[in-house]
Symmetry: D2
Subunit: 338 residues, 4 copies
């Protein structure tokens, strides 16, 4: 019989509630014992809706509870690094939403804290658990396409976020392409040596006024010789566009967008299909469930987490390199960033 894992969630926003629901009802062998939010009311409502025994304002109540074995950090980004340090000090295993921080020193400190405490730290790059991308990775690792030579990622949102969000987001490379940097490392299974970024404001001049761009293309050179291109747009009118292709010495693997159905309508004018799933909550529903299952499993079976602290750090380095490359219009080596 499997050991029950006692776990608590910190942060009762959208993603916190999502994880809480999964932990409460859809992951066997777990006891979700508490949820905390600086907005106490949010914690109380979430606990009531899902059926969590305890709702707290203070995360310390969780960290001091000796029954709690692990925490899921879903609070605002600026609190992630310090919460990791506190949780590690309290001996709790940690699942932390991305990004750990936008400051590399803070990231390093958080990683060191988790490491010296000997607790597990998994970072929430959920797309790795998507059925398309995990199958793609599996095929690449099995050698189905041989040595990878080229990777292409198209990653486009259905609509830009509110301009207030854009202002504090850290910019397209750290807010949006960060996921694709992780995906590139995951699919090619290698580290990036250098990158080159171009981009501009094509969708909304307000984004430009906020100091950001809304359209970007980055070229990556991997250490092992693979080249990759990633493109981002803040607005794909046909919906969330999340595709990748790896080309190698022995073949190619591609993936298409998921669609809500497999219907084709043929009329006197065209053959039509319905649009892809609209945004990340639809597209990545299952991947959120799978990443949490994987976290619970790594605790229970004492295995290394499938997305490590380093996996949380490197995409931030790449985002900073991409911004620098874009600003100076030149290739930037990752080693320049520290």
């Amino acid at each position: 019989m499997k050991q029950t894992v006692n776990i608590a969630v910190i942060g009762a926003g959208r993603i916190g509630r999502l994880h809480a629901e999964h932990l409460a009802h859809r992951i066997p062998g777990v006891r979700l014992s508490a949820i905390a939010d600086v907005n106490k009311q949010a914690a109380v409502e979430c606990a009531a809706a899902i059926g969590v025994p305890k709702a707290l304002k203070e995360h310390r109540g969780i960290l001091e509870d000796p029954e709690v074995q692990a925490v899921v950090i879903c609070s605002s980004t600026d609190t992630h690094a310090s919460l990791i340090a506190e949780a590690a000090a309290a001996g709790k295993h940690i699942f932390c939403e991305k990004p750990i921080a936008l400051d590399l020193k803070q990231i390093d400190d958080a990683l060191a804290a988790a490491s010296s405490a000997g607790v597990k730290l998994q970072v929430g790059f959920n797309r790795r658990f998507d059925a398309n991308f995990s199958r793609m990775r599996e095929l690449v690792r099995e050698g189905a396409i041989g040595e990878p030579h080229l990777l292409r990622i198209a990653s486009r949102d259905p609509a830009p976020p509110p301009i207030e969000y854009v202002r504090v987001s850290g910019g397209i490379f750290l807010d949006m392409m960060i996921h694709d940097f992780d995906m590139a490392r995951y699919l090619v299974d290698d580290e990036v040596a250098e990158l080159y970024a171009v981009g501009g404001v094509r969708i909304d001049p307000q984004i430009g006024k906020a100091g950001d761009i809304d359209t970007a293309v980055v070229t990556l050179k991997f250490v092992g010789g693979c080249f990759a291109t990633i493109d981002n747009s803040r607005r794909a009118v046909y919906g969330y566009d999340q595709r990748a292709e790896v080309f190698g010495a022995k073949g190619m693997v591609t993936t298409e967008n998921n669609t809500p159905n497999r219907i084709r309508l043929s009329t006197g004018q065209t053959v039509r299909e319905d649009l892809p799933q609209y945004f990340f909550m639809e597209r990545y529903t299952e991947s959120y469930l799978k990443e949490m299952n994987a976290f619970i499993e790594c605790i229970r079976e004492d295995k290394p987490p499938p997305v490590t602290g380093l996996d949380g750090k490197v995409p931030v380095v790449m985002g900073k390199a991409a911004r620098l490359s874009y600003e100076q219009n030149r290739p930037v080596a990752l080693s320049e960033i520290s």
Copy 2:
């Protein structure tokens, strides 16, 4: 605020547990208060696993509970009709797994009981809630393809059931094609006047010795003039095959099988995709959830159920007509069956 619906499940087998899990955790505004099974141990284990307050051997404990508003009947087929009558007499709304019965008199009695008691009766033709087929129906009803002229259904299982099951199944037309008869009526939105069935034993001679066939094709004539063909096979080696196509005066709508991912692998030999989802538990996962949501909604909002008692009866009539047609090798009018 929505009224909470108090509901209980009768039958703790595979499909009973599935509905119980959905009612317990994934359908808001529901209280799953009890589960009963003639095998008391099964009820107890299911209740413990899912967190249902009460586990019973006797369904009467449920029907006598004035708090319970509705029951979900998932017991063995031979008990469906009498349970409907009892539940109706107790004033409970009823969701009943298909088929209601294989005897038309029993079906008529059950329908009459529900009707005279004024309770809602929904039959578990879950495929109507599949994203592909419900979208197809919607397009047909919107007039996207004009008046339907032709319908084609391919419905093939990945592997035959155990031979012991085949013996008591009622035969391929009542056990397997019954779903497709319902689907045909649902997609074309009309009644069938006459049908013609052919079939044989192509997969396993044991199925023939058990008095059944494993491969069958039925042609339907709808009252309104549409023609349909349905084919069934007990073994599609590539997995569960569930496709339909409606062709009409203004166009055509088709649907492909769902696949676990949208990966394509190109090698020096071929372009490959992964096989379709294996069987009904994978393919129709979401449709089970949606049908139960629809049942709860029809109780809460006092609407007619989306799959009625008559919808439960007609496919049985069609199954009997198909068997007769196959045995006598001639077209059979549905009016011949009573």
Copy 3:
């Protein structure tokens, strides 16, 4: 070096001109020496346009020419059988457009004439040479899907022919479904024992007044146990629809319609593709060229023709059986037709 085949075409209508162009310019090792048409002017114009040395009113001028080794019969259907007999008597190899005749006695006589003269006779079922259907047949024969259990053919024209044509066409089963009867035999590689036909007038009441139907579905039972369904419609608004699917013990092979391009347009509303190729001249362009190449090759290498006289006869028998089945609403064995 390959021997040059001296050939002549009888009939300068659309299909005659098509074959003449192929023979003149696109098939190596052939000398197209003459073209004849009862409308002398048509023959003259065709000869001038394509560059054929001789244009005749009388086909006898061709048959009496000792240089001519083979004839391509593209005149009106009622002349086919007697032209085959004459050409056979003259010792010419024969390519004859379908159908040989609608009268079985005439067909038998024509076949006997070719057989006793020892000349090759190929019938123009060009769809067998389509890249999709020939690949499908190849896969079936290779055993890629094991023993065939089920075949489905959808065969739908983009628009009905003129009503004058309908009146003399022989009816949908002999005019249109005859191609699909041939395709069914070709794909399953077996003979049909019995069939059952349903149909009606759904598109144009004028077709009904002309004594024909415009929508039909036929179920076939093959001798070896395979079942097939064929559906025909005289009007698919989205264009020519020519698809087949063979399902067997070890798998399934399907084919989609050809399209003029592989474009997909994603907008805020839908994902769209262009319609399939419009009609047979677009869809089967290459197959006309390939069938004639095959005819030349069977002459040059003294091989049996890939579509025999018997292949020309059986679909006519099936068409007659289908008409009888439709009229009497009962299954009809092919052995009933003679």
Copy 4:
């Protein structure tokens, strides 16, 4: 009645014979009067096989013939520029295979010669006439996707050319990606301002020893703000890979590779399709015919050619810029090249 265009072909190699066959038999209203090749025997054999009246060793015999209105230059690349100048001086319209030259001064001189002589000059970028790419361009120009923001081109050969060819090819950017540079300009309908190239030797070390690379990725910045990526590989084991995608403010248009058929085979292991068409002679068959038709039409109707001399020059500039960018690992403005 259309005027007959008298035309001659210079160069009887593979591409010369292809154009000659099209002009002789498949393009109406054309008289192919002569073919010349420095290898007289090649010219004679080609003329005999296709039925061209005159075969010459010297192209001057063609240029001096007052009946000849136009020439098709298919000789070796190093002769293109001077042949254009000679043909222009003789008042002949000119179709010239790409590239015009690898030296920009030679290109400019050739363009000036054609311009001052007032003759039409069309360059053989045949891919513009491919059904996929011409439809894509049409949709972009119609505004179906709004203003273009992103373009992605994958262009990969099935196998590298012989190493002897690689040595004299001018390198991957001028020999292979030159077609994609043209395609990028054609699809986006704008000029490129700057580009950045990366690449390496991943397939065959011999290619590296010959001073070239076999894998390359280039990022383009268009004047109007669109970004593009092009990737090239000398070996895609699954066959010729020629795909593009344009993403814009109002949608996206993509194209898939052409395949020899539309077959799908489902077995117990996978769903399989046949590989894409193998190489350019299969994939671009129709486009060669269409480009020549377009050339004849521009002569006959006195219209500007669809691929101009400038269209022949700019991709050479881009190829040189890409090589420089690759060598210096920095973005290069096209204005740097002259």
